[in-house]
């Protein structure tokens, strides 16, 4: 199950991961290690390969080369047990508009093989504050409510690793604040979080580690305590500009 080179306290271990789509290199040798319970925010402009990285780590896509382990499982094996350990929240909600939140979550709970799908569905709906609307069709929900429901969908099986791919996309400021509170509550000692965003202010608020990804490479990575927000913002824009030129 776990490779010898992977540290035992590692939740996400990525080594030289490359991904090409024809002539386009989306990822060019990405390597990093994230320990259990850590929160990493990866900043990067559009086309930096952030979503591709999350797709590879969540077994949706296969890397062209390199190795990656999530929760101790090799992503190349596409192990079903790995998918029981991860939850993904992205701008796509992965929800059926004609079903109610309750029906959506019962469905996903059954797909994850949980013992009491209705009970667990009700519990997570309450956690994200949608109990009053749990029997309304999801298509009648606002973008902010859908994103909260997407959180419920991602955590219905209580995963130990969460991937947040641009979770604030399309949200108004008020909905973004509410979402941030819910996302902050998800980060516990037992749960590792990897978030991608280009919103520097929000990205720095919750994380333990920060990274900058440009043109398929990790250009910078450090603990958030070592980073000054103003200098980091300047550094981010300089790094992106320099890398885009080369």
């Amino acid at each position: 199950m776990t490779d010898d080179a992977v540290p035992s306290d590692s939740a996400i271990h990525v080594k030289n991961v490359c991904k090409s789509f024809g002539l386009l290199d989306a990822l060019r040798g990405v390597s990093f290690d994230l320990k259990k319970g850590e929160f990493l925010t990866v900043f990067g402009p559009n086309g930096a390969g952030k979503t591709t990285l999350i797709k590879i780590l969540s077994t949706i896509a296969r890397p062209t080369s390199g190795t990656a382990f999530v929760a101790g499982y090799d992503v190349l094996q596409g192990d079903a047990r790995l998918r029981n350990e991860i939850g993904v929240i992205s701008h796509a909600t992965c929800l059926y508009g004609d079903l109610t939140p309750f029906e959506n979550l019962v469905f996903y709970a059954r797909m994850h093989g949980l013992n009491d799908p209705p009970g667990r569905a009700s519990q997570v709906i309450e956690e994200v504050g949608l109990k009053a609307r749990m029997h309304d069709p999801a298509r009648t929900f606002s973008r902010g409510m859908l994103q909260r429901l997407a959180i419920a969908r991602a955590i219905v099986h209580n995963p130990s690793v969460l991937f947040l791919d641009e979770p604030y996309t399309g949200l108004d400021p008020h909905a973004a604040v509410i979402l941030k509170e819910h996302l902050a509550a998800l980060h516990t000692e037992k749960r590792t979080v990897l978030m991608t965003t280009h919103d520097i202010a929000r990205g720095l608020e919750m994380c333990d580690k920060v990274a900058i990804q440009v043109r398929g490479r990790i250009a910078f990575m450090d603990r958030v305590g070592n980073v000054d927000r103003d200098r980091f913002e300047r550094f981010y824009f300089e790094t992106v500009e320099n890398r885009q030129k080369t």
Binding site: T59, T93, F107
Partner: protein, 226 residues
Amino acid sequence: MNRYCNQVLALVWKDLAIEIKTKELFSSMFIFAALVILIFIFSADLSVVNAYDVGPGILWVAFVFSGAIGLNRSFMLEKENGCLQGLMLTPADRTAIYFGKLISNLVFLTVMETFILPLFMIFFNVDLLPRLGPLALVIFIGTLGICALGTLLSSLASNLKAREIMLPILLYPLLVPVVIGSVRMTSLLLAGKPLSSMINWLGLIACFDIIYIGVSIMTIDHILEE
């Protein structure tokens, strides 16, 4: 195995729940199939041609063409809001996703066919009731072939730009053996022949059903992967 079956059933339950609420698939398939039969009724003079000769072909044209509408929608539904990605993120085996969609499609097409058969009997003045048992078997294995191949090609076409056009282009030529066999067997049944006299046709369609399902099991992993 129990978990696998539960995942397949969860997918079927989800598709049925959506269809019961929206009735999109049934209404579009039924209206299309009914129109096909109605158009042929006006084009064929039943006082000249024998309904038992032309009827089976018309019936299967209605089933196959309206079935394609349902099959096209099958994976398009999963593409909306990134639901297919949501499915891929669950621990379900990719073949469980295929079988879940296959069973859903089979149920939708069978329900549509159940409503079309009485219309066919009325408009063509054909009495199907004495041969209903064997006819149901023929319709079932023919429909299984349509759904087995259609579900696979629907998953393939859902990743393409011109997905609405691509499914029929890919589906119809590959379905030819199943459709010919089904039409031939339906004709023989309406002519009063027993099912035992058409065992070769039955075997041919069953073989194609098995081939379609086998190929789907082997390829669905690669088709669904990005």
